[in-house]
Every structure is written in structure tokens, then in C-alpha cells.
């Protein structure tokens, strides 16, 4: 429930991507219009066809690649960042044995490794405090 009120990076990225896709659809529409004119199709028919196909392209992009990009960012990056946030909250509340379980050798895995090193030194510190 609370998660929904909070902002997300996806909104920002998707807004830009969707704007870009609309520009792309307009570009494709203009190209189609020019292609039709070159073949002697009369302007009003050419306009009708190119607008229809630009709208069609925009819709296919929205349900295909744009949705795909959204899911990809969510699954490959954001879910792991949320997981790390949870872990940091646990460690700061004293659950010093919360260790990150992230595999791979990308940027997020690097973050998890750095965090793990820090956690181990905090743990050593805890022992000294007793």
C-alpha cells in the first residue's frame, strides 16, 4: 500500500521513453508519407495511410518494447535495489547477520559485495563492543 505512494525511477524513465516513442512514430509517419507521395499516391490518401500506420506503430511499441524495457529495468535493477534497502534497514536495526544474496558481476553485485565487506567489519566491531 505504502509502496504505491512513493516515487519510482520507472515513472521518470518511462515518461521519457514514451515521449521518444511518439517522436519516433511521427518520424516513421513522415517517412511513410514521403514514400507514398514518391509513388504518385494522391496526398490525402497518403496522409490517411501514414497517420494510421504511425498510430499502429506507436501502439505496437507501447505493448512490445516499451513494456519490455519497463519489466527489464524492474527485474534486473530495481527489485535488487529494494532488496538491498531492506537489508540495510535490517543491519541498522542490529540484525548484523543479514547478508546479501546477489550473484553476478554487474554494478548491483558490486554494491552487494561492497556492502558485505562493510557488514563484516561492522560485525567485528560489534564483537569488540560486546
Amino acid at each position: 500500500m505504502e509502496e504505491k505512494k512513493q516515487g519510482t525511477i520507472l515513472t521518470k524513465i518511462m515518461l521519457i521513453v514514451i515521449t521518444g516513442s511518439v517522436m519516433g512514430a511521427v518520424f516513421v509517419g513522415v517517412l511513410f508519407y514521403l514514400a507514398l507521395l514518391r509513388h504518385g499516391v494522391d496526398p490525402s490518401t497518403a496522409l490517411k495511410y501514414s497517420v494510421a500506420s504511425a498510430v499502429f506503430m506507436e501502439f505496437t511499441w507501447l505493448i512490445g518494447p516499451i513494456l519490455g524495457i519497463k519489466v527489464m529495468i524492474e527485474r534486473m535493477i530495481l527489485s535488487k535495489i529494494r532488496y538491498m534497502t531492506e537489508l540495510m534497514n535490517k543491519v541498522s536495526m542490529g540484525e548484523i547477520d543479514a547478508s546479501p544474496q546477489i550473484e553476478g558481476n554487474d554494478e548491483i553485485a558490486e554494491l552487494a559485495d561492497a556492502f558485505e565487506r562493510m557488514r563484516l567489519s561492522i560485525k567485528a566491531l560489534y564483537r569488540r563492543v560486546g
Binding site: Q6, G7, T8, I9, K12, I13, I16, V17, G20, G24, F27, V28, L31, F32, A35, L36, H39, V41, T45, A46, Y49, S50, A52, S53, F56, M57, T60, W61, G64, P65, G68, I69, M72, I73, M76, I77, L78, I81, R82, M84, T85, E86, M88, N89, S92, N105, D106, E107, I108, E110, L111, A114, R117, M118, S121, I122, L125, Y126, R128, V129
Partner: protein, 125 residues
């Protein structure tokens, strides 16, 4: 492989598929508008190539967006965490935004504060 390259590769494959689809649509509307088949094909191929090349722009735009909004900040966090584990407890994460990264930075800052408290206790002995 870095995340960015992985995502770029997938987006690029998608762009190629998208350009091909655009070509098919162009061919169909040319036929629909009464252009003869071979003539339509001759126009479709160069236009599809042109559209394919223009799709490089969004591919790089998406790459840039992910880098700017997410990965550069993740790298910054890793750096700060490394500095802290080397004892630089004053190293701060300089990120303030209402999103996943911002919340992670906040959680990290809370953790850093409790760590600092702990360290001052140890130092006192």
C-alpha cells in the same frame, strides 16, 4: 557483463525487430495504396535500412537514461561503502530523490549513523 551492456544488447535486438516490422508495414501500405509489388519492394528496403539506423538513437537514449538515473548512483554508493569499510566513517552518500535509489541512500545513511555511534563507543574504551 555489466548491466548496461546486457540491457543495451536486448534493446538493440528489439530495435532491429522493430525496424523490420516497420518495413513490413511500409510494404503493406504501399501495396494497399496501389503501388506495384516490385516497385514497393524497391522503396521498402532503403527506407527500412534508414529507419533501422535511426533506431540507434533511442537505443542509446535508453542506455543513457539507465546510466544517469540508476547506475551512476549505484556506483557512487558502492564507492562510499568501500570508503566506510576502510574506516572513513564520515563518507556520505550524496543522493536525494523520491525513488528506489533515494530510499536506499536514506536506509544507508541511517545505517551509517548507527555505525558511527558504535564506533564512538569502541573508541571510548
Amino acid at each position: 557483463m555489466t548491466l548496461l551492456n546486457k540491457i543495451t544488447l536486448i534493446v538493440f535486438a528489439g530495435a532491429v525487430a522493430g525496424a523490420l516490422l516497420t518495413g513490413v508495414v511500409l510494404y503493406l501500405i504501399l501495396i494497399l495504396a496501389g503501388v506495384e509489388g516490385r516497385e514497393a519492394m524497391r522503396t521498402t528496403v532503403p527506407y527500412t535500412v534508414l529507419i533501422g539506423f535511426s533506431f540507434i538513437v533511442p537505443v542509446f537514449m535508453i542506455r543513457w537514461l539507465i546510466e544517469k538515473f540508476i547506475l551512476s548512483k549505484v556506483k557512487h554508493m558502492s564507492e562510499v561503502i568501500n570508503r566506510i569499510s576502510k574506516g572513513e566513517i564520515e563518507a556520505k552518500v550524496d543522493i536525494r530523490s523520491d525513488d528506489e535509489i533515494g530510499r536506499m541512500a536514506e536506509a544507508f545513511e541511517r545505517m551509517r549513523m548507527s555505525l558511527k555511534l558504535l564506533m564512538s563507543k569502541v573508541g571510548g574504551r
